[in-house]
């Protein structure tokens, strides 16, 4: 498999939000404006690239039995770094994203990629995977936050997009779209749109497809490492 294919797969076929339904908390919480959405996606992608690289480089050193605690420590370290950098250089954005920056550490996407991809592939491939998944996450956040900002405030990136007369006479911002219920409604409708567009409804209809989080986490946290299994059999 080539790096390009891995990146494309992350953006489209394995889009973390629209296909795998992973990492949904920030997708809903910080998408009140496009600026916040892009900021969150960049922070998460930075963490993902760093952790994927380090974990992939260390995959032969980390013992299989304690790999999850190791991954968590590595992820938490980079989240702290990103948090501190954002506090120093983009304090307003850091304030707007609030607790969702430290909460990147429990984002299922990051741990999921560490276990499913980085711990089995070379650093180059792991970086490609991180970029693909990160771009997929960015695209999802841009779409959700763009829709919410246009409907909820009539703006994009804080700038009015319609002529002034339109705001005066026709347009009334749907305030609820930038509040909690609007997030759920927007994401629900967007997921349906994607399912319709891409014929992915087949995935959605499957019984287990509705539980990808349980599957992913169950696989990560409970699977007995293969080496250990072999030893037991012997």
């Amino acid at each position: 498999m080539k790096v390009g294919a891995v990146i494309r797969e992350g953006i489209w076929e394995r889009n973390p939000v629209f296909v795998l339904f992973l990492g949904l908390c920030p997708v809903l919480a910080v998408t009140t404006s496009l600026k916040n959405g892009v900021g969150m996606a960049c922070a998460a992608t930075a963490v993902l690239i760093c952790t994927n690289t380090i974990i992939s480089a260390m995959r032969k050193i980390i013992p299989a039995e304690i790999r999850i605690p190791c991954f968590i420590v590595i992820i938490a370290t980079f989240v702290t770094l990103v948090d501190l950098v954002m506090k120093a250089y983009t304090p307003a954005l850091n304030e707007a994203l609030g607790i969702f920056i430290p909460l990147i550490v429990v984002n299922c996407i990051i741990l999921g990629r560490a276990e499913a991809f980085a711990s089995k592939n070379s650093p180059g491939m792991a970086v490609g995977d991180a970029i693909g998944i990160g771009l997929g996450f960015l695209i999802a956040l841009v779409i959700v936050s763009g829709v919410r900002e246009i409907l909820g405030a009539g703006q994009i990136w804080g700038v009015n997009i319609f002529p002034q007369a339109f705001y005066d006479k026709v347009f009334a911002p749907i305030g609820v779209m930038v509040q909690a219920p609007g997030a759920f409604l927007a994401l629900g409708c967007l997921l349906a749109l994607f399912a319709h567009m891409d014929n992915r409804r087949v995935r959605c209809e499957r019984e287990e497809a509705a539980l990808p989080w349980v599957d992913t986490m169950d696989e990560i946290l409970r699977k007995v490492p293969e080496k250990k299994k072999k030893k037991k059999e012997e």
């Binding site: 339904f21 992973l22 990492g23 949904l24 908390c25 920030p26 809903l28 919480a29 999850i68 605690p69 968590i72 420590v73 938490a76 370290t77 989240v79 702290t80 948090d83 501190l84 607790i99 430290p102 909460l103 550490v105 429990v106 984002n107 299922c108 741990l111 609820v176 509040q179 909690a180 219920p181 609007g182 997030a183 759920f184 409604l185 994401l187 629900g188 409708c189 997921l191 349906a192 749109l193 399912a195 319709h196 409804r201 959605c204 209809e205 497809a209 509705a210 539980l211 990808p212 989080w213 349980v214 986490m217 169950d218 946290l221 409970r222």
Partner: protein, 229 residues
């Protein structure tokens, strides 16, 4: 009496007004993932409540005595015993270790709770066991610890006395779990009915679940006036 009023405000505020799932967007993965059946939803809710309460307790202690760089910091006290000229300001770096410490404490706590429940109460393990490993990466548990550390842990310094800050944190943890369980139960009830309804094809599964959650969140917005923010 005033602190008692605060306590009631926290209970109502965390369960209804700022429900962790419906208003704060925490713990959405299990909310969508495990809410297909009512039994599973109840089990997950109970497990989360249990772990959240314990996590609030443990993280409060750790935050108060390890992560705040003042004269009651344990690292400072130990260092001071060996080297009398150190001052609390030398340990300002400890506050940056919050994310790392909290996630490790929660992960260890979940493992520990799983072991204890398996030994002590097999029936309880049957009911909660399969959900416990999933809780490590539940952002609601981490979220309650971080929110506690932002809001209540410092209360020991000025306003409320230290003991109240501890109780506030504990109550917030417990009520956040109750709010989570209520949201899960409501959602599982709705989804069990959705199974037999003629939902448009594209909306089946997760999309319609989100639309329903949006309607629930709209309803929960009605509670906003209950508590002064």
């Amino acid at each position: 009496m005033e602190t008692f009023g605060q306590l009631v405000a926290i209970v109502i505020g965390v369960i209804f007004v700022k429900n962790y799932v419906l208003a704060r967007f925490l713990g959405l993965c299990p909310f969508i993932g495990v809410s297909k059946k009512t039994d599973a939803a109840l089990g997950m809710g109970m497990a989360v409540t249990f772990v959240m309460t314990l996590a609030s307790l443990v993280t409060w202690i750790i935050h108060r005595y390890l992560l705040i760089p003042d004269s009651s910091n344990l690292i400072y006290i130990i260092a001071h015993a060996f080297k009398p000229d150190v001052v609390p300001e030398d340990f300002n770096f400890v506050s940056t270790l919050r994310t790392l410490t909290f996630i490790l404490v929660i992960a260890a706590l979940v493992q520990f709770v799983e072991m204890v429940i398996r030994k002590v109460s097999p029936p309880l393990y049957e009911a909660l066991g399969i959900y416990l490993p999933l809780i490590t990466t539940n952002c609601a548990v981490m979220g309650v610890a971080i929110l506690n550390s932002q809001k209540f842990f410092d209360a020991g310094g000025e306003g409320a006395p230290l003991a109240w800050s501890f109780i506030f944190a504990l109550i917030q943890g417990f009520c956040a779990g109750i709010g989570f369980t209520i949201a899960m139960l409501l959602m599982s009830g709705i989804r069990e009915r959705l199974e037999i309804l003629p939902v448009p094809k594209a909306f089946r599964g997760v999309p319609i679940a989100f639309v329903c959650t949006g309607c629930m969140a709209l309803a929960f917005m009605g509670f906003v006036a209950l508590v002064k923010s």
